[in-house]
């Protein structure tokens, strides 16, 4: 009962914050505001983390291939754009919704393809290393297939189309909200319940007739879809897609860190984790330039030491404590 009340309050606060985010660009200079850039990166992190949260937090499958799907999304956007695959002229791909969705769909399909052997035979650490190995192989392909991917130099999108940060802000906000609602819907559905069952005890789930492979592959594909679209939007921002920028291991560590920090296996954990970790990294980068890894690392250790269940769990604990006192 308490949790329902708390959840309602949290969602109400979330709604108000979302409204603030929607109207925020109307009140400030979007082109010169650091806040808009900060929020853009945060929203990208939310979408990416929600994907990892679903597969690791809900289904219990620790994927180490997030950066692969993120990079794949960015590369697909660039390849389709530069080769005019839709035949609509190269000027019409900038923030083309079909292109962004396609950049999520193909990684999802690819995840289903590699998920079949990986999730069928591998469990626990073996699955994690399997995904990491696939990501490593694909990174090598991205470097070696120079004719398609531009090799290590990568692909250069025409940055002349850039006019404003507004589309980046709103599109990233939209996908962040969309991914959060998607995870909430899954968590509240029988599908979410099945994922919990798989996470808790795979053998028991099999014994109860749950087709776990089908569920795990679907979850892995949804996770890849979210990573792919966030990679696509980030690629549109960067205009220069290469393995160093979009297949970097940062895109694997960030979602893990964000989920652990915010609260793994919760809907709002990645949201809170994204805001906190992106802010911490920004503060570290700006004020502790050469020491930022030390600063960020120390803060993360402190938070994880005192908040092992993530920030969200602590917020819930405080709500319960004060509600009881009231």
């Amino acid at each position: 009962m308490y949790l329902n009340k708390i959840e309602k309050r949290i969602w109400f606060i979330g709604l108000i914050i979302t409204i603030i985010f929607v109207i925020l660009p109307l009140g400030i200079d979007v082109e010169r505001s650091f806040l808009i850039y900060f929020l853009f990166i945060t929203f990208i992190n939310i979408t990416l983390s929600q994907g990892w949260n679903l597969v690791a937090g809900y289904a219990g499958q620790i994927s180490l291939g997030t950066h692969l799907f993120f990079g794949l999304g960015a590369y697909l956007t660039a390849i389709v754009w530069l080769n005019d695959f839709f035949g609509i002229g190269v000027d019409n791909y900038y923030f083309n919704p079909v292109l962004i969705i396609l950049s999520g769909t193909i990684p999802a399909g690819f995840a289903a393809l590699i998920g079949l052997p990986l999730l069928w035979r591998l469990r626990g650490d073996s699955f994690s290393f399997g995904t990491l190995a696939v990501a490593y192989i694909l990174t090598i392909f991205a470097i070696k297939l120079r004719k398609i991917t531009g090799g290590a130099d990568g692909l250069h999108l025409p940055s002349i189309v850039y006019e404003s940060m507004k589309p980046y802000y709103y599109v990233s906000l939209l996908i962040a909200i969309g991914s959060t609602i998607l995870i909430y819907t899954i968590a509240k559905s029988s599908y979410g319940l099945t994922l919990r069952a798989i996470c808790e005890d795979e053998l028991s789930a099999i014994c109860h007739g749950v087709p776990i492979l089908r569920y795990k592959i679907l979850t892995f594909a949804i996770s890849a879809f979210l990573a792919g679209i966030s990679g696509s939007v980030y690629g549109l921002y960067l205009f220069h897609i290469n393995p160093d920028s979009v297949m970097n291991l940062n895109w694997l560590f960030y979602p893990i860190l964000i989920c652990v920090l915010g609260g793994i296996g919760t809907v709002l954990g990645p949201v809170i984790g994204s805001f906190v970790s992106t802010a911490l990294f920004c503060i570290g980068d700006i004020y502790f330039r050469q020491l930022h890894p030390l600063f960020s690392g120390m803060l993360i250790i402190i938070i994880m030491k005192f908040l092992p269940g993530g920030i969200l769990q602590y917020v819930k604990y405080l709500f319960i404590k004060y509600s009881k006192e009231v």
Binding site: I13, I17, I28, E31, R32, S33, F34, L35, I36, Y37, F38, L39, I41, I140, I143, G151, A152, D153, G154, H156, S159, Y162, L238, F239, H240, N242, D244, S245, V246, N248, N250, A279, C282, D285, I286, R289, Q290, H292, P293, L318, Y322, S323, E325, V326
Partner: protein, 406 residues
């Protein structure tokens, strides 16, 4: 009890309301009392060693200029000191773009000096183009950078082809029986390495030294033994390498461990920092490295700059600091000529401009904002850098003996 609950709720609201607008509004508004120049620099990550020398050069140049009263800006009819604001690119391209965003949007700079890695500078220049901020780049392949057609970024450096010519020029002045017979290249697999490898391939054909092996590795690789084994099996007698300082140290150690007796080992980017020589100690002897500058060059202020560097680095010298130092000198001359801090007008002065009296001599930019600087070769010998190219009569190139004979 109720007051406690109210206090807690109040705290949550205040935290939410304050945290995010704070990031937007806490940026300092600077008046025209100083010239703010942003700097993207590799302070951490695999290029931190080379980044440290570049950072020192920028700071020293600004210190010297400010000691003379600063830069005269006609618009304000006064001399203004320069203030540098550094941002770390963490030796990664995406972080270079993020560093540029922070400089432009948080620190509100309109002129930015570059880091020393081509992919990072290209990523950062893409951001600078968006916001029409002038990006004054050095230590980035001029040909690769020029291909991007940036309108708001200039570049002073040599091309990969110009740098790739140096070892062949060195070999050509040696006696024919001494010249390498089976040279090989091992390049990092990134834009720097690809551009460089193309240069070596062409130059090896042009100078008649066909490459016996042409290899690329992933930057940050931990094990080079498979490459070394291949070199040994093919009897490679000269190796041309491009890599970060950490990769370079690792390579030389593994070459020694595997007793690969190559006669000529020439490394770019990773071989020149003093940390490289200190890390390897006597094993750094005979190794050839590139250089962008030397204090022995007959340019105004070169000797003094070298002495300042040695004073700050316990007697160790540098072959890189002259380039970023000269970049600041060029920028200052451009600001004075523009008479304003408007980035577009400063850029217009650099593009097609000629700049005299720098520590790299007189420099000339073409209409695309590209400026050619010299490429040198030096040999580590007992902790000192000895000039190999351009050739000087006082020093003769030393071929590497076998490891067991050292």
């Amino acid at each position: 009890m109720q007051s406690k609950a109210k206090k807690f709720k109040g705290f949550i609201w205040v935290a939410m309301v304050v945290l995010f607008p704070w990031l937007a509004f806490c940026q300092k508004v600077k008046g025209p009392s100083e010239i703010l120049i942003g700097v993207i620099n590799s302070m951490t990550g695999m290029n931190a060693m080379t980044g440290a020398e570049q950072k020192w050069a920028y700071e020293q140049a600004v210190k010297d200029i400010n000691a003379k009263g600063g830069v005269y800006v006609k618009e304000f009819d006064k001399k203004m000191p320069i203030k540098l604001i550094f941002q770390d690119d963490k030796s990664q391209a995406a972080e270079g773009a993020a560093a540029m965003e922070r400089l432009i949007k948080y620190h509100k700079v309109k002129i930015v000096l570059s880091t020393n890695i081509t992919p990072i500078n290209i990523a950062a220049a893409t951001v600078a183009e968006k916001y029409k901020v002038y990006f004054h780049v050095n230590t980035t392949w001029r040909d690769v950078f020029g291909q991007q057609g940036f309108k708001w970024a200039s570049c002073m450096f040599f091309t990969a082809y110009e740098a790739a010519e140096v070892p062949f020029l060195v070999w050509n002045y040696c006696a024919p029986e001494e010249r390498p017979k089976k040279p090989a290249i091992l390049m990092e697999d990134n834009p720097d390495g690809q551009a460089f490898a193309d240069g070596f391939r062409n130059m090896s054909k042009q100078y008649g030294y066909p490459l016996a092996l042409d290899e690329a590795y992933t930057p940050g690789a931990k094990d080079f033994s498979s490459y070394i084994l291949k070199f040994k099996m093919n009897g490679i007698d000269a190796l041309l390498w491009l890599g970060s300082p950490t990769d370079s140290i690792r390579l030389v150690r593994q070459i020694k461990e595997n007793k690969f007796n190559v006669r000529y080992l020439h490394g770019w980017k990773g071989f020149w920092p003093t940390e490289f020589m200190k890390a390897l100690g006597p094993d750094s002897d005979y190794l050839i490295h590139d250089g962008f500058w030397a204090e022995t060059l007959p340019y105004p202020g070169a000797k003094e700059l070298g002495e300042k560097f040695k004073k700050d680095h316990k007697g160790l010298d540098s072959v890189s600091v002259g380039l970023p130092y000269a970049a600041v000198q060029v920028l200052v001359q451009a600001i004075e000529r523009a008479g304003t801090l408007d980035p577009g007008k400063i850029r217009d002065q650099v593009f097609g401009g000629e700049f005299k009296g720098t520590v790299l001599g007189d420099l000339k930019y073409d209409e695309k904002g590209l400026c050619k600087t010299p490429s040198l070769a030096l040999q580590w010998w007992k902790g000192q850098r000895m000039p190999v190219w351009p050739k000087v009569p006082q020093y003769q190139l030393k071929w590497m003996p076998a490891w067991e004979q050292r």
